[in-house]
């Protein structure tokens, strides 16, 4: 009502006249302050963008970047590679000398198998070489589907998924499940691809001492206490344990039954990396789960590469469909990369056929591993690192000279000595600055089924001589 409003206005004007003076002055000052704030310039942090154009140009002139790559000295140990001419099979030609191969991961000798080569050739005739696309865009071939089905059947799991590169397998699998805020417990001796997967996942990583279940339990208990403080958060944080079946850096086996026990007690999921133990351990070569008699469904994800025992290229993950199917949309190395060339997949299928037909081959490999282990014991100056059933052992210096470069030089001298006497060995290579827990320098000795007793004896003899000659000085 207009009259009512006008009445209110009159009331206001009246109040204005009747108000005490100090009240009016105070209000007046406040209004002026507000007007000033509204019109003043915004307060800016003092930044270097206050610089004039001329100053900017001077800065651009003066700035000198570092060279893109630092120069590598000529005698850096990994600058010059050993050149292999011809196939890297049992008899290998290194730097022009024919040697017996004690350094390639060709555990079951399938690199040279005629059957595998023939299958690869027939696949080549049908499909050509490359797949020209990722799995999502017409890069899925019937051989890929067949290989995945065969691997799942061989391992006794529901589903398997193939990657085109061994290194990328576990490095893409871990970040697909574990995100920022999740917790991963990992062994200190985990290999580099696991470390890269952990880095890509951005989760909290807690290392426990190598194969030390008490240390792991201590960490799990600490986490439990943390959880009780904050139960709401604990309900959404996922927990994983990442271990290897057979460690490549220390050549020993992880205590899987203890891990499964810890899994159910503390509700953590297990990811098992079986690159070295697939096709090696277990009665049928199914890896460390068969070796210990653990139910394969207890392990959430098994990842392995096909480049060791299967003598092909690529990697695979297997497990229950609930777990594996997720990687088909979120595994980066799977979705954004071209699929495995069909001839390599066919070769892997044929290798798997050979493994299934002749399970005696695994018993043979394990016997040879025991022989080599026994033969290399007691080498003067070198200590043998690894379990008797590991096919890839390390020979480390018993007394280190204190400097890693010096140690590497000594070991390299032993390798050269052996190469001259037709035994092919190699130094175990690491990236010194990138590894989290750098293993000590060592020589890698690999056992394959193709090595005969005499060859093993000759090799052990040769290494003993080399150690005596070189390490005495």
């Amino acid at each position: 009502m207009a009259a009512g409003q006008q009445w209110v206005l009159v009331e206001m004007v009246q109040a204005f006249y009747e108000a005490p003076a100090y009240h009016l002055i105070l209000e007046g000052i406040l209004i002026l302050w507000i007007i000033r704030l509204l019109f003043s310039k915004t307060y800016k942090l003092q930044e270097r963008s206050d610089l004039t154009e001329k100053e900017k140009e001077e800065l651009i002139e003066e700035w000198q970047p570092e060279p893109l790559v630092p120069p590598v000295s000529k005698d850096h140990p990994s600058r010059n590679y050993d050149v292999v001419t011809g196939p890297p099979s049992h008899k290998i030609i290194v730097n022009g000398k024919e040697c017996i191969n004690f350094a390639s991961f060709n555990f079951l000798g399938l690199l040279d198998s005629e059957r595998v080569k023939l299958k690869a050739l027939s696949s080549l005739k049908k499909y050509g070489v490359g797949t020209c696309g990722p799995r999502g865009f017409y890069g899925t071939f019937d051989v890929h589907l067949e290989l995945e089905e065969r691997l799942a059947r061989f391992m006794g799991t529901e589903e398997a998924i193939i990657y085109s590169y061994g290194f990328a397998t576990i490095a893409s699998a871990i970040p697909a499940y574990s995100k920022r805020g999740d917790i991963i417990f990992v062994d200190e001796a985990a290999c580099f691809s696991i470390q890269k997967g952990l880095q890509a996942s951005r989760s909290f990583v807690k290392h426990f001492k190598h194969n030390d279940m008490e240390d792991l339990e201590r960490l799990l208990k600490e986490q439990e206490i943390e959880d009780q403080k904050n139960p709401r958060k604990a309900r959404v944080i996922r927990r994983f344990i990442v271990v290897e079946g057979l460690y490549i850096n220390t050549a020993d086996v992880c205590p899987l039954p203890d891990l499964v026990r810890l899994k159910y007690r503390y509700k953590v999921r297990i990811f098992l990396e079986e690159s070295m133990s697939f096709g090696v351990l277990g009665e049928h070569g199914r890896g460390v789960t068969e070796h210990f008699g653990v139910n394969i469904d207890d392990i959430d994800l098994i990842s392995a590469n096909m480049e060791n025992a299967l003598a092909s290229i690529g990697g695979f993950c297997c497990g229950r469909s609930f777990v594996i199917d997720h990687q088909r949309l979120s595994g980066q190395g799977y979705c954004f990369s071209a699929s495995l060339p069909p001839m390599l997949a066919s070769a892997a299928i044929e290798a798997l056929n050979i493994m299934e037909e002749d399970p005696g081959i695994f018993r043979l490999l394990q016997d040879k591993c025991k022989h080599v282990h026994k033969a290399l014991q007691g080498t003067p100056g070198l200590k043998l690192v690894g379990e008797p059933l590991a096919p890839a052992l390390h020979l480390q210096l018993e007394n280190s000279s204190g400097s890693r470069t010096e140690d590497l030089k000594l070991l390299r001298a032993i390798v050269d000595y052996s190469l001259d006497r037709q035994i092919a060995l190699t130094l175990a290579r690491y990236l010194d600055k990138e590894e989290r827990f750098l293993p000590p320098p060592s020589i890698r000795v690999v056992v394959t089924v193709e090595q005969t007793q005499e060859e093993i004896q000759t090799a052990a003899q040769c290494i003993r001589e080399a150690a005596l000659n070189i390490l005495k000085r």
Binding site: V72, Y165, I313
Partner: protein, 480 residues
């Protein structure tokens, strides 16, 4: 749409609708759930409906025509079943087969077969241990010669080439300026390196220059120390857009601000340039001016793997410090032989002009397809010389319809939607190949014409129809 999804989720949770997805084990039901509910929201409800357009299995070589295995779903795309029949002679517009090297002609593959017979398939060792074969060294010398640079190094996987070598080149205290639309492998490599990453707008030189200026003047955030290195990461051809990088302008900026350039030529090597040497040749730039040339062998060479090329110091450093050289198995010998034969063919050193013919054929096919599509009134992105042709569909609903209809007409296309592209810019992407004949392209164009009218895909206003009788002036007068 959101409401329908939520309703169905609720029904599934309550148990009215049968849940078709795999479930967690009984013993592990009280573990923390492996997947977040809302992560799977999109997947369950939107993606599953159109899931049959991806991961289509094929059973022949991925050449210009291929055989697609027939797949049906009895339960609305939750599971698939192969019927055992194949759809034969489907025209392939989806595989990255730019120069047509995906072939199984016995003559061409003679050396590859020889290599398989002699070497087998695997290598079983890393490059730094006993995996460095003489064929690898031969390949690297040939790649360096092909590109016109000092030295090169090859790796087993294109994706891994980026993700394993960028951390070796830059680290903490360095700055990476990366294009908006860079590939996942570049982003992963940049993240793993630990450097600071700043993103500039796609192909926008002003945005890049402003960032470079600000970076050098302000230094690192908070400490204001000078940056150790600045690396600009761009791609030759962007696979979702089809656009070419603006190389001369970037090189000018690079020289002025003393930054380093990393050029990822995954799609452009072999596919652009008068002799197939990539974007450096296309723009007439000396390849030695680019600091790091990276590319893959999967697309134009019909094999697998990647390479990095540049100055000798760069490649020597990578030989000792690259993650791939130390920990990853070396490339398979037959694959290496295929790359060698493909490069020799393109360079012309094998004595034939086959390589040159293919490069020219690809350029011709590209131009033909692009001009005809524009004429018909479709909206396509990308540079006129790029063999990657994205055709915009815009609406996510049309994605499924388009792909299925094209397959019925025996043409295999690739459709992309969210999350690879923004949700309102779904597109179909054609990859032109030198092996496509004029008849195949004409068939594709005809089907697109019909389908475009049916589903209403001809969004462009600049349509110059080749059927002028529809636009005859006299009709309009009669209407009134």
């Amino acid at each position: 749409m959101d409401i329908t999804k939520k309703k169905r989720d609720f029904l599934r949770a309550v148990g009215f609708e049968k849940c078709h997805q795999a479930q967690e084990r009984e013993e592990q039901k009280d573990f923390v759930p492996l997947y977040q509910d809302f992560e799977n929201f999109y997947k369950r409800n939107l993606y599953t409906r159109v899931r049959d357009n991806w991961n289509r299995p094929i059973c022949s070589l991925p050449g210009p025509v291929f055989d697609v295995m027939e797949r049906v779903s009895d339960d609305y795309n939750w599971t698939f079943r192969l019927t055992g029949r194949t759809i034969e002679n489907v025209i392939n517009m989806g595989s990255y087969n730019y120069l047509g090297f995906a072939e199984n002609n016995v003559d061409f593959l003679k050396t590859v077969a020889e290599e398989t017979r002699q070497y087998g398939v695997g290598v079983c060792s890393t490059r730094q241990e006993l995996g460095n074969l003489s064929t690898h060294e031969k390949l690297e010398r040939l790649v360096a010669e092909f590109l016109g640079v000092e030295s090169a190094m090859a790796f087993g996987m294109g994706f891994a080439t980026n993700s394993m070598n960028i951390p070796a080149l830059v680290g903490k205290g360095c700055l990476i300026l990366s294009d908006e639309l860079n590939h996942t492998s570049l982003i992963l490599g940049a993240r793993l390196s630990g450097a600071t990453i700043r993103v500039f707008k796609h192909n926008n030189m002003q945005s890049l220059e402003k960032m470079l200026k600000d970076a050098i003047c302000s230094g690192q955030p908070r400490t204001h120390r000078a940056w150790k290195k600045i690396l600009i990461m761009v791609e030759g051809i962007y696979s979702m857009e089809g656009s070419l990088v603006r190389l001369p302008e970037i090189l000018a900026l690079k020289k002025k601000y003393k930054a380093y350039l990393y050029l990822d030529e995954a799609h452009s090597i072999g596919a652009v340039g008068p002799t197939g040497r990539g974007v450096t040749e296309y723009f007439g730039v000396d390849p030695n001016e680019v600091d790091v040339l990276m590319g893959t062998f999967t697309k134009s060479f019909g094999a697998a793997g990647g390479y990095i090329a540049g100055k000798k110091e760069l490649v020597d450093y990578l030989r000792s410090h690259s993650h791939s050289a130390v920990y990853a198995t070396a490339m398979s010998p037959p694959v290496v032989e295929q790359i060698i034969r493909a490069i020799k063919c393109i360079m012309g050193v094998d004595g034939t002009t086959e390589g040159q013919r293919r490069v020219r054929q690809l350029a011709e096919n590209t131009r033909y397809l692009r001009s005809r599509l524009k004429e018909m009134g479709f909206i396509i992105y990308g540079n006129q010389d790029s063999p990657v042709v994205p055709l915009l569909l815009y609406l996510p609903g049309k994605v499924g319809a388009f792909s299925r209809a094209m397959l019925k007409r025996k043409i295999g296309v690739v459709v992309v939607g969210f999350p690879a592209t923004p949700i309102t810019e779904a597109r179909a992407r054609f990859c032109v190949s030198a092996a496509h004949t004029r008849e195949m392209l004409d068939k594709v164009l005809q089907s697109l014409d019909e389908l475009g009218d049916d589903i209403k895909l001809k969004f462009s206003r600049h349509r110059s129809s080749y059927r002028p009788e529809l636009y005859d002036e006299t009709d309009f007068e009669l209407d009134s």
